[in-house]
Symmetry: C2
Subunit: 594 residues, 2 copies
């Protein structure tokens, strides 16, 4: 059940696929070097392996408790959080002026993956603080930044994201929490929020709650919503935690997984808060947090899948049953040598690599959108980031569920026994397709907003990039690469065909929504195949130039080829399923169980 | 969280698809009539709805306990079991001479589905007793039949299936439990078995354990294995439970799901037992039990999926969020009207109907294999049963996992909260692809044994039947049916292409094993689509003849069309993935996380 951070796999993705290197030329990251990246990933890997991973199962078994409004996290979490603060991990990707390390978001994303692998329940706390910091940087006043950012960036204070109410989940516009002005610039907020991750806990000395609420006389729906900052303890004149605010946890959920993460029902009874951004500007602020969190949740999918994979791989090498073909030694043979088991492992590995590459490409794009010297390059990167965000979130979390399920399957009966640990990954992974916007909401965002953006530029640009890689594959001297290129070309054609159908002027909204989830799947399948193909091209270059471990480089080609021959081959068949149309959805009567 | 047995859906499948009617002509079921079947399904449905379903969540929360070798099942299980015995449900499909009702297995299978829907953990007990009864009927001595069958068929005594040991799971030939002759025809059995479902419990007055063990001097591997009958209490001269035998539960597993089902580690220390069948004939006896249990586990997949579906459907009608297209009333709208949610529900419904039809067709084939008057018809039915058994088991249990996962997703955040119940279905469902032969083992059975059987007759006959249905669709006056037929024809072509590749003389074993799981998926996808198409043809006939509820009949066509346009459209793309070949499976080096 141990975990070892895949530092070299991540480094390869950052060096060759998501190309962190491109950021160096911006001049905004003077210290950024391969050595530094390697050192940081190695150090973060140690923290994940040695501190967080051992608390994963104990945290699942023990869970959190709520007594008189105080939440106690599982044994060891508080000390692990102190080490997190000490390591400065919360501030990796944030500006040095507020105490951060000023490194790229892509690097912070890579570190987050390791933490999520090691302990998803624990890492949800820091994950939400990341998002709140981004929102404060983008929308907070100078005073708010000065008061809160340094404490959040060290991790001494943590943060939440308070949107959901019992009647307002995907439809946030239905929320009813109310804010009344106090006349001194502060507001008095009253209402109840549910499903608040790390809403209350014993790890940080203060908790800063960004809360969506309605102000008097505002319009109905999302246009009347504002974002408020509500500290658990009101900062005193020196900026230290002072008076206890009227916001508290009144319930903890009993969940299928992530037991170590306290999911709270929060009650505000005239809690004191301040606007973040303008009145009625809550949704824009929320989307800053949400977009950050969506990528981070995608990374959770990668992380939990990697954890499940390492465990399944170790078991498959160790467990001996039956007679495998083409093995000389006497039976029973290690189950990894049974083609069926090896294929499951290959599927897991290929999809993890693809999802990691999608998430890191999304993160690098976010960095480039901010730091590219040229305005057009920044705009291009922003479009790429926005296109990839729903794919990173939904496709990677679906991969998380699929891979953790295969992890259970490879363990056979042992996989269903809680002590083995494989079941926990499967339970933990299942939340990720739901929160921060269900995967259905991601698909609607992709089809409804991202395809239409800038006259369809984001998807056209993606297809152009994919076809460039097809060309790179076709001209390779390695005989595998033109085959990968051929599969990828068909995938790109399918993606284009489906996108064109969806983007056709006058396309009925119900028809495009009917195909949305399948389209997101196709987009993820093809984008993942594209990024693996880039990795294969790089692997071939390394082989040719004698750079690095040839086994590793060959592995990149083998995995890309496997993915191309299994996942990309299925891509063209998705087009019809995307173009289904709402008329083929059965009516209520046909859906009844009778 | 309530459950309502889908009596009419099941009746339709038995009347029009799995065609229970065909059995009537055998003369072996003189009382079999539509009225009787309806009455039995309605009565069993009541038992499932009113007695078993309410104990599902409480059983999950409470679980089982083991104290001094005695297992206590959750509150209410013992009383529910007494009602099971009283209702005579255990004996439905067994001969009247031993106290059964002498009805077809297909009917018993339909009843089992309802029980599994209502309470999967509870129903595992009776399910294993079904299998043991079949093994005793097929392989027991007259004396054993007379002594044990009446008690098992009433359900007063229950049974288990003891195969697995820590070192012998999929590879049963590695088992080490030993049997020594006592010289009086009885044997003394010593060893340990794990993962024994309902191995010990407080519901029945005696437990009959069929146990695989090795006798002295036998050959290694499966050829040296014999099956023993070991009663918990040795029957006295009157056939009542007497002396306590040396077999006991020494541990209970902590599992991800089916908490109400006691999964025991069993220790035999010189337990007294008797051979079932000949010495060294254990594997044949085991397969009688296993094949019965495999179909029954497939039915569990259907049952748990139906339960999850009913709950998700109810939630989707009730929960209102957002603005759905083409709805006149003011938002928020019921989420069932969001195309994305409706599509998930349609996917669930279509796959449940398909899996149910596969399982019931397999069960009816088993009945026909025994009762058809003509020997050739019996042999044909036997081939169909054997071909369908691994598909019924693996495809339906994969559907169980997929559908329960969609059930969680439709509930959004509520789906992850244990009190909702959707999560329990997801946890419970996950065991079914593992036990009674993992789904990988089923795929190996399908590709390695079933395709090769009788010179390939079973798959050829299936394709002939499918193409007959294609023709029936193409000549229909309903415009949907030729479209369904066209998709089905392409599915059949794909299935044939893949089967021919696998069956090609000299095909490398590693290559065919590499494609086994994908082939089973294709076979299930196409067979499911075929049976739904038969249902659509019958629906159209009912519409034309004004028979029954037209909404219901139209629903059969809508669901078949939806399945054809989504699942069958993807079938041709699976062929390449099946023909992948072992060379494309990455080597160990490429699979490492680095």
């Amino acid at each position: 059940m141990s975990y070892r951070a895949p530092v070299n796999d991540i480094l390869f993705t950052l060096d060759e696929i998501a190309v962190l290197d491109g950021l160096k030329k911006s001049g905004d990251f003077p210290d950024l070097s391969t050595d530094l990246v390697t050192a940081i990933l190695t150090e973060a890997g140690k923290y994940a392996n040695e501190v967080l991973a051992p608390l994963n199962r104990s945290g699942d078994v023990q869970g959190c408790t709520l007594t008189d409004g105080e939440v106690t996290t599982p044994d060891g979490f508080k000390a692990a959080y102190a080490q997190f603060v000490e390591g400065g991990w919360q501030g990796l990707q944030f500006p040095e002026e507020f105490g951060g390390m000023g490194l790229p978001k892509a690097l912070g994303t890579a570190v987050l993956e390791m933490m999520q692998s090691a302990n998803m329940a624990f890492s949800l706390g820091p994950m939400l603080t990341f998002s709140a910091i981004e929102a404060l940087i983008a929308h907070g006043s100078d005073e708010q930044k000065a008061l809160y950012l340094p404490k959040l960036i060290t991790g001494e204070w943590s943060s939440t994201m308070q949107l959901t109410e019992p009647g307002a989940g995907s439809d946030v516009g239905l929320l009813r929490t109310k804010a009344e002005p106090n006349g001194d610039g502060s507001w008095s907020i009253t209402g109840q929020k549910i499903f608040i991750t790390w809403g209350e806990h014993d790890c940080a000395e203060n908790i800063i709650h960004p809360v969506l609420a309605r102000t008097p006389g505002g319009p109905d729906g999302v246009k009347g919503i504002s974002l408020f900052l509500i500290p658990k303890f009101l900062p005193d004149a020196e900026g230290n935690p002072g008076e206890r605010n009227a916001i508290k946890a009144i319930g903890l959920e009993h969940k299928m997984g992530i037991h170590g993460s306290p999911t709270c029902t929060m009650e505000m009874s005239g809690a004191k808060g301040w606007l973040i951004g303008p009145e009625f500007g809550g949704i824009a602020c929320m989307f800053t947090m949400m977009n950050s969190a969506r990528l981070a949740v995608g990374v959770q999918g990668v992380g939990i899948a990697e954890r499940a994979y390492q465990q399944a791989l170790a078991y498959a090498k160790d467990r001996r049953q039956g007679r495998a073909p083409d093995i000389d030694e006497p039976a029973p043979h290690a189950i990894i040598d049974h083609p069926d088991v090896r294929r499951m492992l290959a599927t897991m590995k290929a999809k993890i690599e693809a999802a990691r590459a999608i998430c890191l490409h999304c993160a690098t794009s976010a960095d480039e959108a901010e730091h590219e010297p040229d305005a057009e390059d920044r705009a291009f990167a922003k479009r790429r980031e926005e296109l990839l965000t729903p794919i990173a979130k939904a496709w990677s979390t679906d991969v998380g569920v699929e891979v953790t399920s295969l992890g259970v399957q490879i363990h056979g009966g042992m996989g269903f026994i809680e002590e083995t640990g494989a079941a926990q990954h499967y339970r933990d992974a299942r939340i990720a397709p739901i929160y921060e916007g269900t995967n259905g909401i991601q698909a609607i965002d992709l089809v409804g907003r991202k395809l239409a953006m800038a006259g369809g530029a984001p998807i056209r640009e993606l297809l152009t990039d994919i076809r460039q890689t097809v060309e790179d594959c076709q001209t390779s001297s390695n005989p595998d690469l033109p085959e990968i290129g051929a599969r990828l070309a068909k995938g790109a054609d399918a993606l284009e065909k489906a996108a064109k159908w969806l983007m056709k002027p006058g396309r009925d909204r119900a028809d495009s929504l009917t195909g949305a989830t399948e389209f997101l799947k196709l987009a993820g399948d093809v984008t993942g195949g594209w990024l693996l193909a880039i990795g294969a091209v790089a692997g071939q270059r390394r082989l040719k130039e004698g750079e690095g471990d040839p086994d590793f480089a060959e592995g990149r080609i083998d995995i890309a080829r496997f993915y191309a021959e299994t996942t990309l081959t299925a891509a063209p068949a998705l087009v019809d399923s995307i173009r289904l149309g709402a008329d083929f959805l059965p009516e209520d009567e046909a859906l009844e169980s009778r």
